[in-house]
Amino acid sequence: MTLIYQVEPAAVTPGTHVLAIAVGRYPHLLGGDPGALANKPLGLKQLKSPPVSLRHLLDWCFAPELHPDPPASPGLVNNQAPLASVEVLVSADEPFVAQTPDGQCDVERATRNNIQLAFESWLARMRTHPGNIGVFYFCGHGIMVSDHYLLADDFGASPAQPWANAFDISNTMRAAEREIQGGMYFFIDACREISRDVAMTLAANPSPLWAPDLSKRLISSSLTAIYATGEGELAYAPLGGEVSRFTFALVCALSGYCGIKAPGTQTWNVTGETLAAAVRNILNVEHEYTQGKPNQKQVSEQQIRGEPVPILTLSRPPLVKVVLDLDPVQRRAMYDLYLQSVLGGRYSQSCLNQAFRIDLPRGFYEVGALDPAGGLPHVHHQEEELIPPFYTLTMRSQP
């Protein structure tokens, strides 16, 4: 296990404890170690994206300290439960070195045993204060039967117990709700495809990281689980070792593109509901912009219970990613595309043959397209409400 960051002393005040796991290298899956292929590799290959995706998440976590001037992103900011610890496990082609506020840190592999130890350690830290917030992140291979199973680095090592080096995240969450009092966020960036091979094997389901004791009552204040994809579906990443679609959407949403103002304060809270809705929205818009294949559309799913415990408390209003366009595209370069805030402030793009992209604070705007030469009709929409994370509009210039 690799605890790469910890604020001392813990337990006096609430804090946010992160456990992040990425598995890209699977020695016993397709393309893994020569001669080590599992007897039933389930069609699963080596992945380039998970370590890159995890690094993207870490950069967000440490943004206030690693990139303070000006911050690239608000990062993990929570005035009720500041970042208290980060534990990381990564399996990649090359040894993974994490960049932390305290310097560089070598990270151990995400084997089943290491994941077990790291989870127990995370659980122990979470127990130190009832106001703690836990963040559990996993990026790698996943499969489903009745529950959702996540695959560790050494999955497939044993022909006798082919599914042994995986863990049951569904029941791990059920256990965690009974073991710790704070709020919890589970971000699961993995496939949820139903595996025929696993389903056809009796008594071989992977075990949870903590056995749920059903005699115990639920004591956690809240639990938010956001899954990269729906039941039976795949999760994706661009080829070549880029951030996965889900992690991109998650970090984008967490970087100041969602939140609701707490009444009477200058604080915008990001809760499970807000975050889940923003992630779904970003995934959807990104799919359209990247012209993704219809059969590879990825729609996240969420499970939310308990009180709205914020993962972030932001000190500035969330931004909206605005994309304004004009149809027909041949007329784009003849128009000024603009947004006029009802609070004042005008934002425009003058006569360019491209969509107008800008980040703006949420609120009401007049949105329009104006021909400076006056020959073409003025297109405008009064009191458009810009709500994070995205506002997209293609205006039509007719005739």
Binding site: L37, K40, G43
Partner: protein
């Protein structure tokens, strides 16, 4: 581009007919359409079903020497039908249950059989298209690497995983196996089941039994067509059904994509020829593909409405002219298919194309559209000028 498929005799509506259509359409879209320069997604495929107008047996074929020699199935449900077709494939291409051993002997042929088995159970055109795309990748890979290194250590459990992995050309990284693999595993499961000795024996029996009934229904459908095909003013029900689809396809031509392609299987070729030469010579067909057909034989027998004993005046030297409304005509036959015939000796400006289904004489006639390699070779032929 509109595409019309006209089935032959001995087709009756049901799961088997539907699944054949689903698989066939998947291959037409993914393999044949690109060879014609056609957008696979906007391709419109019409498959007029005329089996309901075919022969009816008043005594339910009680005249067969063995009254039980009718139509057997391995089950009444879709899986049973699919399994039955795969059992037929296996009976015609005997393989052992050891798929890796088969692949070591003939990797490309094993890939073809595997995908044929998978496509036999395709539940939707989307699944069939996914399989068709995966088939093309796998077939190309198997041709380029007939003896890959990994095959020497592969097991029956991880053979498909490795094949799929090596042939994969995904545009994105997925955190899971993907649906194709599960479809292939279902196909392999069917194949393994069908290779069990007992079942193979049943499949052989099934084929032998079906032959008698098949020939009976073939003749019956042909007689019904010939006696009730009608006239130009009052076409019979079979002609009317096919003609309606052709007219509909004709209307679907668009400026950028204005070609009409017709595939006619078996007796569908005779129906099409009658339409082109008598019922609707105005319909312009850019490419006619007859498969396992008897068009030439029926012209030899002068059985078409417009057949004339004095045309040509000098057979076998002379030939009947290809209908002017047909720009290109490809005729596919298999010497093992006792019901398929050549066309070049009888009709001018047509091209005969031999395709070896790999089946015996009992199975070849229905085998063309079950074999993924058929579509691949057809596409290669069509893409030639």
């Amino acid at each position: 581009m509109p595409f019309v498929f006209i089935h032959g005799v001995n087709n009756r509506d049901g799961e088997a007919y539907h699944e054949s259509e689903v698989g066939r359409n998947g291959f037409i879209r993914e393999v044949v359409a690109p060879a014609l320069g056609v957008d696979r997604d906007s391709l419109s495929i019409l498959s007029p079903y005329w089996g309901q107008h075919g022969v009816q047996f008043a005594w339910n074929m009680a005249v067969l020497p063995n009254p039980d020699d009718k139509f057997e199935a391995f089950g009444a449900d879709a899986d049973g039908e699919a399994f039955g077709r795969v059992a037929g494939l296996v009976a015609e291409s005997p393989i052992s249950g050891d798929i890796v051993a088969e692949a070591r002997k003939d990797f490309p042929a094993t890939v073809d059989l595997l995908f044929a088995s998978a496509i036999a159970g395709a539940k939707s055109e989307g699944e069939a298209r996914d399989l068709s795309r995966a088939y093309q990748l796998s077939a190309s890979y198997a041709e380029k690497h007939p003896h890959p290194n990994w095959l020497s250590t592969a097991t029956n459990d991880n053979f498909l995983d490795q094949l799929n992995y090596e042939a994969d050309a995904s545009s994105e990284e997925s955190f899971g196996g993907g649906g194709i693999l599960e479809s292939l595993k279902e196909g392999l499961s069917r194949l393994k089941g069908a290779t069990a000795d007992q079942v193979t024996a049943v499949a052989g029996k099934l084929l032998r039994k079906k032959l008698n009934a098949t020939v009976t229904r073939f003749a019956g459908d042909a007689f019904v067509y010939l006696s009730r095909r009608g006239t130009k003013e009052a076409p019979g029900p079979i002609v009317a059904t096919v003609l309606q689809a052709l007219r509909e396809a004709d209307q679907k031509r668009i400026d950028k994509d204005d070609k009409l392609i017709v595939i006619a299987h078996s007796f569908g070729g005779e129906i099409m020829y009658d339409i082109l030469t008598y019922f609707a010579p105005d319909i312009q067909v850019d490419c006619l593909i007859t498969v396992g057909s008897q068009v030439g034989l029926f012209e030899e027998m002068k059985l078409y409405v417009n057949s004339r004993p004095d045309v040509p005046p000098n057979p076998p030297v002379g030939k009947v002219s290809r209908p002017a409304s047909v720009k290109r005509w490809l005729n596919v036959f298999d010497t093992n298919d006792i019901l398929s015939y050549r066309l070049e000796p009888v009709i001018s400006d047509v091209t005969d194309f031999f395709y070896d289904t790999g089946y015996s004489s009992t199975g070849a006639h229905g085998g063309y559209f079950l074999r993924p390699s058929f579509y691949r070779r057809l596409a290669a032929r069509l893409s030639q000028a």
